[in-house]
């Protein structure tokens, strides 16, 4: 009898359920924006393909800026000075000059244009396009119609990849929605979301820092058929805490840590 009890206990204790949170893991600027473990520089082709090739990663977030020639380039910062061999802003430079740019990192990755990404390789993946609305060198806003035109030309070519446009600029929401993009609004708190409802701006989802939204707030947003994506997590504990709020996705800087937490 004792043996049977021990055997049952052993089976119960030793069986490891494979648990998978139903949450998309998304690479921040490819393989991580500001993390010392990131092998390749943020927004480089190498970082994007390393992230998308990692088993369990559903998509990447990338930062897009318009060049002087109105083409989309992947770059995060306000100016090129700190991270690359060039100076100034992406918006003030033409494609010919930007094509000579490379990051001041170990691998000297080149800056890339959105249209040079090989989307035929990325079938089934999701790209979260964080578009820049401001030119820091001229202290002026980018023309939203130029941004929409550039996005429309590129996105329309690829049906096998999902594109979601991210913006934190309220005034850009309506034009982007009218242009028939899938639009997520970056919010500071749930009031920002409620504001869009009041003004009848029908966004598809929201993106927010993990610490800015509670589990209940996320649930209330999701009850309105909106997706919720959280970001700003690096260590295992904040990633675990974010997962326990059950958002639709997490934009993370350490993909392997996030995948461990997801498949615990």
């Amino acid at each position: 009898m004792r043996f049977k009890i021990l055997l049952i206990l052993f089976i119960v204790v030793s069986c490891k359920k494979k648990h998978d949170y139903p949450i998309d893991i998304i690479g921040h600027a490819g393989n991580g924006l500001s993390i010392s473990n990131s092998i390749y520089h943020a927004n480089s082709l190498e970082a994007i393909e390393l992230a998308l090739g990692t088993p369990g990663v559903e998509g990447v977030e990338i930062d897009l800026q318009l060049s002087k020639d109105n083409d989309l380039w992947l770059f995060h910062d306000m100016t090129l000075d700190d991270e690359t061999n060039l100076t100034g802003c992406v918006s003030n430079l033409n494609n010919e000059i930007l094509s000579t740019a490379f990051y001041k990192s170990l691998h000297k990755e080149r800056l890339i244009q959105f249209k040079n990404l090989n989307f035929s390789l990325y079938a089934g993946k999701t790209f979260y396009l964080d578009i820049r609305h401001y030119n820091a060198c001229e202290n002026s806003f980018i023309d939203v119609n130029k941004m929409i035109s550039a996005l429309s030309v590129e996105i329309s070519k690829w049906n096998q990849v999902k594109f979601i446009v991210l913006t934190n600029h309220y005034d850009w929401l309506s034009p982007l929605i009218t242009a028939d993009f899938t639009v997520y609004y970056e919010i500071e708190n749930v009031s920002d979301f409620l504001n869009t409802k009041v003004n009848n701006i029908i966004i598809d989802g929201v993106i927010s820092r993990s610490t800015n939204l509670s589990k209940e707030e996320i649930s209330s947003i999701q009850s309105e058929n909106k997706k919720v994506i959280l970001f700003n997590m690096r260590a295992p504990k904040p990633i675990r805490e974010a997962m326990n709020k059950f958002p639709d996705g997490l934009i993370v800087d350490d993909l392997k840590v996030a995948l461990i937490e997801k498949s615990k």
Partner: protein, 171 residues
Amino acid sequence: MGFLFMANFKILILFIFFYNTSISQNRISTSISYSKLDIFHGFEFEKSINDKFNLHAGFEYGIVKSLFQSRFYPKVKIGGSYYLIDRNKFDLLAITQYSFSSFKFYRLTNDFVQYHEANLGVRWRYGNKWKIGQTIFIGGVWERSRNTLFNSKQSNIMLGYTFQIDCIYAF
């Protein structure tokens, strides 16, 4: 492939530590180290092969992954050191080390990532039978894992570092 590597590694350790019989001193140590990959706790055995050179081998595990993420992360290491300064109580050594580590990062598909590290560094120790010390490494880290885009193994190289605190017993 990983198992073959581990088997060869064990044979190499046995050969190094049992080939040379002119031993002046042995040391065992425990350490805590901070590196790019994790915070490791480990054990090391070091054997002097003459007055100037030592060989060492050891085992570590990643504390964050193993204890806080329920994902056992082992590392094995082997290396050698050379005395730059050898005083009564104080040693300063130039040290080189190779290590191999691996963990399963995605349980649903059984995907592992492997790391090969080749490091150079310095080590200092103070004490008699019981010593305390530090080891600092810099070097290359070669990450190897499956890439589903290209359906093949992918290798990526990055710079690595280790800051280690040692507690040593000499016998």
